[in-house]
Symmetry: C2
Subunit: 338 residues, 2 copies
């Protein structure tokens, strides 16, 4: 079966998916018998292009790279639901901007697709945060696939590893480094910078926002813990239920005193499930240099999965990046099978 | 569909699989809709037990744990091929002892199963070393599944991660720590032991054989490189083609001089594929303490996979152990689907 792909949201990640599909067309066919047409691309700013026989990706990518718009191409219009039907989409890649409060517009897109039997891959945390159970049930009812590898660790395949690679294992918890900005800052502080210096450098490099609260107070990592808790344990928790401490109180003295003991301070995020319940947390922790998470630098993420049959298994890989996140969408579509 | 499992070889790993299947019967059904009967267990020493309606695993495990034999149970006899047909096996879990030269008896078992449309999971390197292409072709022809997660890193899902988790990535190489014995010895030497002291301790703990050549000269790691080369790149190389240096020439001086620079010496095994061809190797290498492989201790294995879309992804987990290797068989069977 040839996948008929619709793309909702053509920003950095959506464009990266198109690039991968285009570059790798022959390789994907040879290796996975994976064949596709991209029949629809809809972006609220760039416009909507579609073709029942498959878009010319080279032409589309040229427009994106040169003008960041579809203005020069023949356009169509309509709601995403109508357009997916009109062009016979079988898979929706959803990567519109994230809204953690409403889940929109991704939530409506995904709901529409799954209820029509169109499989979905998404990198958008919003719909998962707002309506995970509803969407999962909709997929089960229609027989559509619903995958979301890219919502944590971009394309580093944590979710697939837990679901499929470790099939048969029971997971009792995860812990890891899930926020690149604070990890960068703590690494800088380990080299002698003050908190303010580390923050300024992170802001200058574009890692931290002008208002860095989301990162440095641990909210971003806590949001990822909420999603992991849902995916791993099927449990709903509010982000405010995460036992959360950021890095704003970490002093250069603490960092250097840890270093003197051969240790490092890392912002560790995780969740454990035991007989007393769920224990979700984000906390600066002093760990030994020999700990598998101790050497994880900057933009790299790492998660240790605690299991019954395998003990601890640690996965280290990119936690962000446009190509890396596009890869998450691509691998999800390949895993949907033919 | 209920899997009808035949087990060839009921040593440590085969017994661990039976334990997992028995312990997790309800969990596997709830989580994966995975249902099974074990219809046949054949072991050259312990005997052969079989039941068309499924063996009573509790009774079988009691005999194994108490008498390490099936002598007290009703037995059947015949070739494995005949028995698999007689009892209607749909899956063969092959874990007879490894013979890297002939592949037997596993090779005949797997050949027989695949040609009859019976899917196979194995932890036995022998048949893969001797007849990988033939077995893969036999599986393709009959439509049977042929999986072998446990041949490297026991149940740590390296092969599934590369095949499925990273689907869409192209892999240009792998490097890692694939031999626990030498890793243990180098760690001891890092704490001040001489080579001979480290070897004696490894032997006392049962990590190293009386004749330690296989480990300390890098043959074991080289054998794993040969298998990874075949699995990743589909290329046949002889173990003698691996650029191989063991740890026998590593001196305490080298180890401590590395430590003074903040580095460690590790026996790194890997293979790269570039435009000039394959580069398989096993070599002691001085790496920085911040290298993802630097902190990997003792019986833990670690492999870094070099990819185009994700850069480097490192997987760290158990490289041996009966339950861990039984888990490899279990996850393979679950992944075969219904």
């Amino acid at each position: 079966m040839k996948h008929r792909i619709a793309l909702a949201g053509c920003g950095n990640v959506g464009t990266a998916l198109l690039e991968l599909l285009h570059e790798k067309k022959d390789e994907l066919k040879a290796k996975y018998s994976f064949e596709y047409d991209v029949v629809l691309i809809s972006d609220i700013i760039k416009g909507t292009v579609a073709n029942k026989s498959g878009l010319d990706l080279e032409a589309v990518l040229n427009e994106l790279h040169q003008h960041n718009s579809f203005a020069a191409l023949k356009q169509d219009s309509g709601s995403l639901g109508e357009l997916m039907k009109r062009y016979g989409a079988t898979v929706l890649a959803e990567c519109t901007p994230t809204n953690l409060k409403t889940g929109e517009p991704g939530l409506s897109h995904i709901r529409e697709a799954l209820s029509s039997g169109i499989s979905v891959t998404t990198t958008n945390k919003g719909p998962l945060a707002v309506a995970f159970d509803e969407l999962k049930a909709a997929a089960e009812q229609s027989g559509a696939k619903f995958l979301y590898e890219g919502v944590v660790m971009s394309g580093t395949p944590l979710i697939d590893m837990i679901r499929n690679g470790m099939a048969g294992c029971s997971v009792s918890g995860v812990e890891g480094i899930l926020n690149g900005t604070t990890n960068f800052m703590l690494t800088k502080m380990g080299s002698g910078a003050t908190y303010d210096e580390a923050l300024k450098e992170a802001q200058a490099l574009g890692y931290a926002e002008a208002d860095p609260t989301g990162d440095v107070e641990g909210w971003d990592a806590a949001g990822k813990v909420v999603i992991l808790t849902k995916i791993l344990f099927g449990k709903d928790i509010a982000v405010t239920e995460v036992d959360r401490t950021g890095i704003t109180q970490v002093t250069p003295q603490q960092v250097s005193s840890a270093a003197q003991k051969g240790n490092v301070i890392k912002l560790i995020a995780g969740v454990d499930l035991d007989e007393t319940g769920l224990h979700p947390y984000v906390k600066p922790r002093e760990i030994a240099a020999s700990h598998p998470l101790a050497q994880v630098g900057g933009a790299v993420n790492a998660v240790t999965v605690k299991t019954d049959n395998l003990g601890d298994v640690t996965l280290i890989g990119p936690g962000a990046g446009r190509r890396e996140t596009g890869q998450a969408l691509l691998s999800d579509i390949i895993r949907m099978g033919n």
